[in-house]
Symmetry: C2
Amino acid sequence: MVGSLNGSSMDLIQNAEPLPEEIDPKAMPLDLNGESDGGRGGGGKSRQIVLGRNVHTSCFEISEPEDDDEVTGEREAYMAGVLARYRKSLLERTKHHLGYPYNLDFDYGALGQLQHFSINNLGDPFIESNYGVHSRQFEVGVLDWFARLWELERNEYWGYITNCGTEGNLHGILVGREVFPDGILYASKESHYSVFKAARMYRMDCVKVGTLMSGEIDCADFGSKLLLNKEKPAIINVNIGTTVKGAVDDLDMVIETLEKNGFKDRFYIHCDGALFGLMMPFVKRAPKVSFKKPIGSVSVSGHKFVGCPMPCGVQITRLKHINTLSSNVEYLASRDATIMGSRNGHAPLFLWNRCNAQ
Amino acid sequence: MVGSLNGSSMDLIQNAEPLPEEIDPKAMPLDLNGESDGGRGGGGKSRQIVLGRNVHTSCFEISEPEDDDEVTGEREAYMAGVLARYRKSLLERTKHHLGYPYNLDFDYGALGQLQHFSINNLGDPFIESNYGVHSRQFEVGVLDWFARLWELERNEYWGYITNCGTEGNLHGILVGREVFPDGILYASKESHYSVFKAARMYRMDCVKVGTLMSGEIDCADFGSKLLLNKEKPAIINVNIGTTVKGAVDDLDMVIETLEKNGFKDRFYIHCDGALFGLMMPFVKRAPKVSFKKPIGSVSVSGHKFVGCPMPCGVQITRLKHINTLSSNVEYLASRDATIMGSRNGHAPLFLWNRCNAQ
């Protein structure tokens, strides 16, 4: 595992720079039917979108098919041309992701033969699905690995492979709210925006906590804000690597602050390890993420550090919290404590392969 | 497009039967290190999970690596063996999905060369991302196509390619709640469970409406339930194909019921087309889904009908609703009105390819 977390993984994140060679849609035969606007009003240019360029002007349109073989041939040539140019632009872009695409190439040997299948892990990974084409057996293997990493017994955890880091945060904070329905959400102001999005989605009161110069949560400020809301339980988002500064909140001090302010057994901690969660066990002097401490859930992003070619993440929580969730009629009816329901079944295969191979 | 929606697509859904040849994990050399339990407590058997077999007993474990070339060789052989057997079981399973996997094979020709790239469409598809390896230009092409299908002008819609049908429902209902914060959610009892999950997640009052024998929403019951809550706006989930019976709610009658009970301009309709949404334009006598009617959003599932090999869906809503959403500080900070943030960048390529090629 350690071998994979070298400098090139960091380059991956830092080198998300703009494309050197932009695709030029004007160089494409966009219009097969000879109509410049396709009768669609052409209002694209007046469209107002907050921040950034209007993607309509550079997108690849879809034309309606014709009952004409010659046109069909042209269409296929057009599509192949678009895709070939797109591939070239991807090659340009990923040149700057040192190490990363090559690792993927290497792995595809074993997994390539599975790419053709439509694999979907529907619903709870621990409940048998009647949709046959799944990869739960690999998913649970990966979850066991992460539960072991974070020191939670196999019979005491629940989790699933998410579609992305954000889904992990949405899930962890939802579990916290179900455990403490009147809890207040605390998160440092450098937390990922999905944490504040969750507060709004879930209609939770949310208190922003200040940070130190390093970007870590300021526990003095946290303590004083806790005292303003002593009567309500606390749900805390702890960052294991913030998006901007990579700061790691001091988990031990967060717990100490909660306990000394009278919140013992009245708090739920979600650890957002979207960025650094996988590195932490190997970084010295950072507080260890472990379920031996009173934390409720941990999430990480799989595609950012393990080199999975599709967005995904891992979410691990305590089984007892999910049982609380499942006692609710609506959740029980769904037999599904995940957020999304459908999950890409290829992601577990990649994670399984990476975790095994490193 | 019509050509792709033949009987075999239906077989896909109905043939989600159990596997003829189950993978037997006991036939695998699961334990490379000679430890039967790996020191993990082995508590798996006592684990209580609602409904269904414990997947731990059949999952593929991940073993820790050894600094030993010979063991590494064995590990590679083991992994290759597991994946080869898994592939065989997938082939068995998908034999029953008539037509479906062959369509995929056909398409892979053009798209296969892109499989190696880690493509991620982060955030709002209409806002430029600083993550270079994306497929927004294809995504917006697909969205334009669907907006046109549902008769919404290019400068009046907003949307994105979701991770699955559930995400579309979660998004549509959230938009409805943001438009009418004190609105009550109405949904027929045969609605997909994600609708009721959304109500709980978002802390919305939810009223279940009865159905006719066909599975369609019972508008008489709907009307009487509306009258019990006349003072609050209505947010309605309309099913364009229920999960169990494939019933299509009568959209026109739902709108009529709302208007004649005094809800004019005080309702938001989300159309859940997870199953049949793509077929509807081609099915006679069903009420047409169109933004020329007073609906707020439509979602469909891409992998179920268009033959996309990963879970995905399409969500289209009115731009003015997203602008309402974006005026909120938290959402603005995120510059992202999607639910998940990260999205699989291959899905737009498949959808683009399918929509263009059919």
